[in-house]
């Protein structure tokens, strides 16, 4: 299915979605945080979209906002989409988990928590997976400071 058809189908589900055209290969849809689970579930269960394979889940620090970028593929229809979700809350950034929809998110969400401090409601074992358990701070955030280990220029 082409990007235009995908846009029409997904756009009809909710009024709060924004589609970003960046001249990129994939269709990019920005989802408000409170509708994330709803849209994710529809993306998987709807027969025309049938996105059954999450191949990337990344945390992003936009400077003022924190967000997650999901790359999802359908193995039956062979099409892909990028789903983005953002929040301005840098103290307690919080999204719903998608681990029960795509199990692949299990470790990726832990990674986003590890490096960006983004929490996922409903994730069963959210923990630091790369860094030491007693690590302080979230090192991939733009405002991360470590005066001893990090030389900045």
């Amino acid at each position: 299915m082409g990007n235009t058809e995908l846009k029409n189908i997904i756009g009809s589900w909710s009024e709060n979605l924004t589609f970003v055209e960046e001249g990129s290969e994939f269709l990019i849809v920005e989802v408000p945080a409170n509708e994330l689970r709803d849209i994710a579930e529809k993306l998987k269960t709807n027969k025309d979209t049938a996105f059954d394979y999450l191949f990337s889940l990344t945390g992003v620090d936009y400077g003022t906002e924190l967000g997650i970028v999901y790359h999802i593929e359908s193995t039956t229809h062979n099409h892909m989409i990028v789903m983005k979700v953002k929040t301005e809350d840098r103290e307690t950034p919080n999204f719903d988990t998608v681990t029960d929809i795509w199990a692949a998110a299990y470790f990726n969400e832990s990674e986003a928590y590890d490096l960006f401090g983004i929490k996922f409601n409903g994730h069963k074992n959210l923990r630091r997976i790369f860094l030491d358990d007693d690590w302080k701070g979230w090192p991939l955030r733009k405002d991360y400071v470590d005066e001893f280990n990090m030389l900045t220029r």
Binding site: L131, N149, M150, T152
Partner: protein, 200 residues
């Protein structure tokens, strides 16, 4: 024969003198037809030691590929006494630190080093092991140089260094061993008094 010889970065003609491969002592013919060897204990021990350096497999990133290539048939460091690589520090004389040392890996490297039997040697291979390399700035996770963790004997620059560079570093290490003295080594663990740079 001479024309088709592939030397792979080693000057074979001058190798004997370059590496000091000559027998470490004088052979004096005795009257009864036998021979008497006169040498220094240091020279004889170092001679054996430098030609039987077994390295530990310690490849933490892409430099390990070049290290493997140096051991593979084309360059083949076995020719010079680095006979095999071992997977256990108990059987190794040498760590070739081939790759980035992260904050999480540093205690592991230190423990491996401590588990090795004396005498032990360290080659820091590549920019990351020498100084942190491309991760010197703005990295929260990389140790800026393996010499913050263990004492290093020979540094090899490069990103990654070519096998010839690593071979040259190995020869440098052999030259260093040649000049060693047992008297100096006794009760002198290289880790004693080692400055890890943990105090700012």
């Amino acid at each position: 024969m001479e024309k088709t010889r592939i030397t792979m970065g080693v000057d074979v003609k001058n190798m004997e003198t370059e590496l000091g491969n000559e027998f470490p002592g004088n052979v004096i013919p005795a009257a009864n037809g036998g021979n008497i060897v006169v040498t220094k204990l240091d020279a004889a021990i170092n001679w054996g030691r430098k030609h039987s350096l077994w390295s530990l497999y310690f490849g933490t990133s892409c430099c390990a590929i070049e290290m493997m290539q140096t051991g593979a048939p084309r360059h083949d460091y076995s020719r010079f006494g680095f006979e095999v690589a071992r997977v256990t520090p108990r059987q190794a004389d040498l760590i070739i630190i081939a790759g980035t040392i992260t904050v999480k890996m540093a205690p592991v490297l230190r423990r491996l080093y401590d588990q090795m039997a004396e005498p032990k040697y360290v080659i820091a291979m590549g920019a990351c092991a020498v100084s942190g390399g491309p991760f010197y700035f703005n990295s929260y996770s990389v140790v800026r140089g393996a010499d913050h963790v263990i004492p290093v004997d020979v540094y090899v620059p490069g990103c990654p260094p070519r096998p010839e560079s690593l071979l040259d570093a190995m020869f440098e290490l052999q030259n260093k061993i040649t000049e060693e003295s047992m008297a100096h080594r006794v009760n002198n663990n290289p880790i004693d008094g080692f400055d890890e740079g943990t105090t700012k």
